[in-house]
Amino acid sequence: MTSQIDFVDRGLLVREVSKNFGPTAVLNVVNLDVRQGEFFTLLGPSGCGKTTLLRIIAGLELPDTGKVFLDGQDITPLPASKRQINTVFQSYALFPHLNTYENVAFGLKARRFSHQDVAERVGRYLEMLSLGDLEKRYPHQLSGGQKQRVALARALVNEPQILLLDEPMSALDAHLRARVQADLRRLQRELGTTFIMVTHDQEEAMMISDHLAVMNDGQVLQIGPPRDVYTKPTNQFVAEFLGATNILSAVRHGDRVMTGLGDFMMQHPPDWVKGSLTIRPEHIEVERPDAFGANRVKAQVCETLYSGAALDLLLEPEPLPNLDPDFPIKPGQVKVRTYTHDHIDRGEYVNLYFPPSHLVALNDKPI
């Protein structure tokens, strides 16, 4: 199993990697496929092992078991200095005694590039990251955003096959963050370098990545394009981590699914008997209270939260008369996001429509 490589041509494979720090398992049998030239994100809460995984890819940490392949070649035993992989550290780790130019030139000089080559390449990358005017400045004379660009230039100037970014936005303020995200994406596309980024910010991960891996407790829970992972989460953690959602305990009867809110039809009914469903707040449709039909629930508005672009509602569903005594499912409050400009007031009754295509069955144990 460990020696089998599914997809070999170009890219990074992580196979069955585990890592313990003392008695605590930080990574628990992790597998990952990163295609050459894509923007890949490791997403998860702090302590989920994502930074450790990044450090293993960088060669700054050895896995206890498992292997890392780059273009089909086992790079697990190679030290960081022998890998075509460079890192942008979370703290940036710029050399404080070297100015911008010298920091960026570090990797090339260490590999004994000729004087002209160093000057030419450093100049090109300083230009690319608009650092030309800051050549002579020392790290303590730079702002947070400038430091980050120096760290980026210092890594990219080596023209690595893979660039690793450890929480690159964590030290930037919200304003700058949005711009840097766009810049990073553009830079990645222009250079065609594989970027692997670690973040705990799900919005950032979704906006920027081609593929993302959601991690928790040392395991990769789901890998896929942001849209797939967001709309079709396979378990409750992924569903909740990627944004607001509704989780419904459910029992399947044939091709109908019974929840505390009532019976629902689903486009892809679950293969379990007891489990849970999820539906995003923006996928639930608000209708006039006299609407009628399948997948509809009558509910009273408890709270309205207006945020300009959207109107978030918290609703209390009407209690159901015929609860299964063997499986009493309490209906919870339902979160709905609408983009309507109609006034909806607290206390009002509305009908909620749960489209069969947006009800997603989760595959973890019933709650």
Partner: protein, 305 residues
């Protein structure tokens, strides 16, 4: 309505008046200033005066101006010119430099070892480094005499490899002197360096490695620049007293190991020639100052120390 401009100022969270602030500063700096004047400047000036005085027939000091002490210092005597004093000075310089270099080479691994221990055992290691401070240098040096004595394991081992004759001791000689010097000065080097190594940003070591630096480059490019302040202090507090050391060389070096420290000590004791001793002391001070100036310029530490 124009109000009178307030003469109050805010200073580090205090609201006060400039005059009061100045008085407070003066009150705090005056005692150390007086101390330095009385116990440093005046004795130094006395030393200069003494160096230009004449030795009386019975070893007393006659306050009569003469340049003879300095003539003798640069090698002229009743018997003509000799380079002995320059040898002594150069040997002292060489000795202090070698001692300092060995201390640096030992202090880096030592401090890295201590810093990477868990906090509880770290205290134990620090105490091990500090313990030698609790004993007098003379006592410690005599202890080396016992350890290096004939027919004991260290001497036997050396004899086994044919380094010394059978039944001989490991002293007097260079080996014993450097052993004594390094063991005396290692804590002086290790403690300031420890303060720097403890605050080391290890990310920079990883960044250097990630950027293809060799192990040697990691030291020169990531560790050395970060630990420069501690290293500079360590070098100064090791080199300067090592220049003037006479106890260790006296006990472990035998008669052949004459250093400027020994020479000065002799003038003030056996030879009873205080003026010449004072001239030698001045020479030592000047040599030390010149060495430190060169060190600062060469190591780019002008804004430190």
């Amino acid at each position: 309505m124009a109000s009178k401009k307030s003469d109050r100022i805010s200073w580090r969270g205090d609201v006060t008046k400039p005059l009061r602030l100045r008085l407070r500063g003066l009150g705090l700096t005056l005692p150390p200033l007086v101390w330095l004047t009385l116990l440093m400047t005046i004795p130094c000036l006395t030393l200069v005066a003494l160096a230009m005085a004449t030795r009386g027939q019975y070893g007393d000091v006659i306050w009569q101006f003469t340049g003879n002490n300095f003539r003798r210092l640069i090698g002229y005597s009743f018997f003509g010119w000799s380079a002995d004093n320059f040898y002594v000075l150069f040997r002292s310089l060489w000795m202090a430099a070698i001692t300092t270099i060995i201390c640096v080479a030992l202090a880096y691994p030592l401090t890295f070892h201590v810093v990477t221990r868990p906090p509880r055992t770290r205290v134990f290691w620090l105490i091990l480094i500090i313990i030698p401070f609790w004993t007098n240098v003379v006592v410690r040096t005599y202890a080396w005499l016992l350890v290096l004595g004939p027919n004991l394991p260290p001497a036997r081992l050396a004899a086994f490899f044919g380094l010394i004759p059978e039944g001989a001791a490991l002293y007097p000689g260079q080996f014993a002197v450097y052993l004594g010097m390094v063991s005396t000065f290692l804590p002086f080097m290790a403690l300031p360096l420890y303060a720097s190594v403890e605050r080391l940003n290890w990310d920079l070591l990883e960044a250097a490695r990630d950027l293809y630096a060799s192990r040697f480059q990691v030291f020169t490019k990531a560790i050395l620049p970060q630990t420069k302040p501690g290293l500079a202090v360590g070098i100064i507090v090791t080199f300067v007293p090592a220049m003037a050391m006479f106890v260790v060389t006296d006990i472990l070096g035998g008669a052949k190991f004459m250093l400027i420290g020994n020479l000065i000590q002799q003038q003030f004791t056996q030879a009873r020639n205080w003026p010449y001793g004072a001239a030698l002391s001045l020479a030592l001070m000047v040599m030390t100052l010149i060495s430190m100036a060169i060190f600062r310029r060469r190591s780019g530490l002008r804004n430190l120390s």
